[in-house]
């Protein structure tokens, strides 16, 4: 007799991901969907997708979904949350071009208001969807299609550390940076996402989980090399850990 030992979570649709081979979005989508599934929310969850590689996230998360204008997901989520109230979980899923560049006003003020939403912030240090341009999170010296000689700090500043910045804001409740580069970190990432959603359910306040992610296609590396590059270059500049937890 056969026995099912593993099933895809019901909070992901059957739609095939459009993500490139080796991209971490697939892992992160699954973690978020599993957390939602395990919370047994009976449909009381609404997600907001960004502009960028995860623009089609509304096709993948199997719940009520919005697709927001570039960077505006926290404002859209605010409008949703103010209607649906504490019972319904509201989350945004945003990349670094979306959240850390064009959407800085919206994310900073959502945090300032203590908006009771969860933001999953995927940082891969580059604009993926448009083909590998420099992001606010691109590392100094990192070559992209708009920084062909490598990011020059004197010309365009140092990379933005979003978790550290938002942790300074009185209205933020829980901020953690995680990575999905190995099994241990994937387990930690899922725990962080679960904690953020639990805090929202308890009506606590603004929660953000920054997830460091690879972009093999636009970094010009194989998936394995990309994981190594993330460990050697991104994690030292973007240290993993809890930056704020008002309950701790």
């Amino acid at each position: 007799m056969s026995q099912v030992v593993f099933e895809k979570t019901q909070y992901l649709t059957d739609k095939q991901f459009h993500y490139c081979p080796g991209c971490n979005h697939g892992i992160i989508h699954r973690l978020v969907a599993e957390v939602i599934d395990e919370m047994d929310l009976d449909g009381k969850v609404i997600g907001v997708a960004p502009v960028g590689c995860s623009v089609f996230a509304y096709d993948y998360f199997n719940c009520d979904m919005y697709e927001a204008a570039h960077g505006r997901a926290p404002a859209v989520a605010t409008g949703v949350k103010r209607v649906v109230g504490d019972d319904t979980m509201v989350f945004t899923y945003q990349g670094d071009g979306d959240l850390a560049s064009i959407g800085t006003a919206e994310i900073v003020h959502a945090a300032h208001r203590g908006e009771k939403i969860v933001t999953i912030f995927v940082n891969n240090a580059i604009y993926g969807m448009t083909g590998g341009q420099m992001a606010p999170t691109t590392l100094v010296g990192q070559k992209t299609t708009t920084s062909p000689r490598g990011r020059d700090e004197a010309w365009c500043g140092a990379p933005i550390r979003v978790a550290e910045m938002l942790a300074q804001i009185p209205g933020s409740y829980y901020i953690e940076r995680v990575a999905v580069n190995n099994t241990a970190n994937i387990v930690k990432a899922k725990k962080a996402i679960a904690k953020a959603f639990r805090y929202q359910k308890e009506g606590k306040g603004f929660c953000l989980v920054e997830v460091l992610s690879t972009c093999p296609t636009n970094w010009g590396l194989s998936p394995v090399e990309a994981m190594k590059w993330l460990e050697e270059n991104m994690i030292p500049y973007y240290p993993l850990g809890v930056y704020k937890d008002k309950e701790a």
Binding site: T13, G43, Y58, R72, G79, V80
Partner: protein
């Protein structure tokens, strides 16, 4: 019912609440700041939500969020702020979200000034944001008319799944007039009436009913199909929702076209000219999109009409629609001011007299 003396901005805000609006997201800008001020005091009294956004950009995206749940949501601003909202307005139109947007127009371009203007006509009725879309757009000429339009604005927005735009010049918001305020409408979110809204779908429910509020259709076929849906709706609106007022058009020698407050100045000029033996009529578009082309043409094509005068508080923006309506059949002249200097009754009279004298 007794009349109450109310300031335009507060009367419009109260009417929105009476029409079922329970979510207001906005940002201060003169000359409409009394609307968010009023909402901040009033919304909590009716169990609604007032939230001051960090920008007009955020405010319209909060509307996008709230409207997608099926709630009645409204935002207000003035010209430069409405420019900032254009991105979100285009997304609302693309995602077919019913909502109401108030533009209390001030002088422009750029920061312009804070006095009344009609300089955003083109922005309101010819696009504003990106893409092929229209907003059901009304231009009230009195505080009472703004209230009356508000009482059906959400119904129309929901019937057609389009944003409704009010193009009100600053005078409408700033002046006080005696008004009759309608009774409170009992509005509740009804998922049966709004099957497209995000109201709590769960895995196992009919996949076709999952709420997806969205304006991206990445392949050409599906975007074409989506735009055909939008254009079909716009055709229905054009067929069913044109509103206008005729004033003294019967037997008129000249027809004035004007909207909003300027139309009231034109009426005063028409009344004075009548006493002086000059017959002048007015066609006042109330819906400026859809523009009442046939109504304008019908009034102008009467045998008695020699010429048309379009009067506006801008450089002649509606004039282009008036010209389209008449299509060269009769002479058209224009009188207007920009820089928020309101045309006077004497100026309008003098212009008509000069037209009569063939100058």
């Amino acid at each position: 019912m007794a009349l109450t003396l109310m300031k335009g901005s507060e009367a419009i805000a109260e009417a929105a609440i009476r029409a079922g609006a329970r979510y207001f997201f906005g940002y201060p800008i003169t000359p409409q700041t009394e609307i968010p001020e009023y909402m901040s005091a009033r919304m909590p009294e009716v169990g609604g939500c007032f939230l001051q956004a960090e920008s007009e950009v955020a405010a319209i995206n909060m509307i996008y969020g709230a409207a997608g749940t099926g709630a009645r949501a409204i935002t207000s601003s003035s010209s430069p702020g409405i420019s900032l909202k254009q991105e979100g307005i285009s997304y609302c139109a693309g995602a077919q979200l019913p909502c109401v947007i108030l533009n209390v127009m001030r002088g422009g371009p750029g920061l312009g000034n804070i006095q009344a203007s009609q300089g955003d006509y083109m922005q309101g009725v010819k696009g504003g944001g990106n893409g092929d879309y229209h907003l059901l757009t009304y231009a009230p000429a009195s505080v009472q008319e703004a209230i009356d339009i508000m009482m059906f604005a959400f119904d129309k927005a929901e019937q057609y799944r389009v944003p409704v735009l009010f193009l009100a010049d600053g005078i409408i918001a700033q002046m006080m007039e005696p008004v009759e305020m309608p009774e409170m409408v009992d509005f509740k979110i009804d998922p049966e009436k709004k099957p497209w809204a995000c109201t709590g779908w769960k895995p196992g429910d009919d996949p076709a009913k999952r709420g997806v509020i969205n304006s991206i259709y990445i392949d050409t076929e599906s975007l074409t199909e989506h735009n055909e849906v939008l254009q079909t709706v716009y055709k229905e609106i054009v067929a069913n929702e044109q509103k206008w007022e005729y004033y003294n058009t019967e037997g008129a020698e000249f027809i004035i076209t004007a909207f909003g407050t300027v139309a009231r100045i034109a009426k005063s000029a028409i009344d004075e000219l009548k006493k002086e033996g000059v017959k002048v009529g007015l066609v006042r578009p109330i819906s400026v999109w859809p523009f009442p082309y046939d109504a304008v043409r019908e009034a102008v094509m009467a045998d008695s009409v020699k010429a048309v005068l379009d009067v506006e508080l801008n450089e002649g923006q509606m004039l282009q629609d008036v010209k389209l309506a008449i299509n060269g059949a009769k002479p058209i002249d224009f009188f207007g001011h920009y820089g928020s200097q309101m045309p006077t009754v004497d100026e309008v009279k003098a212009k008509i007299i000069s037209m009569k004298e063939g100058k």
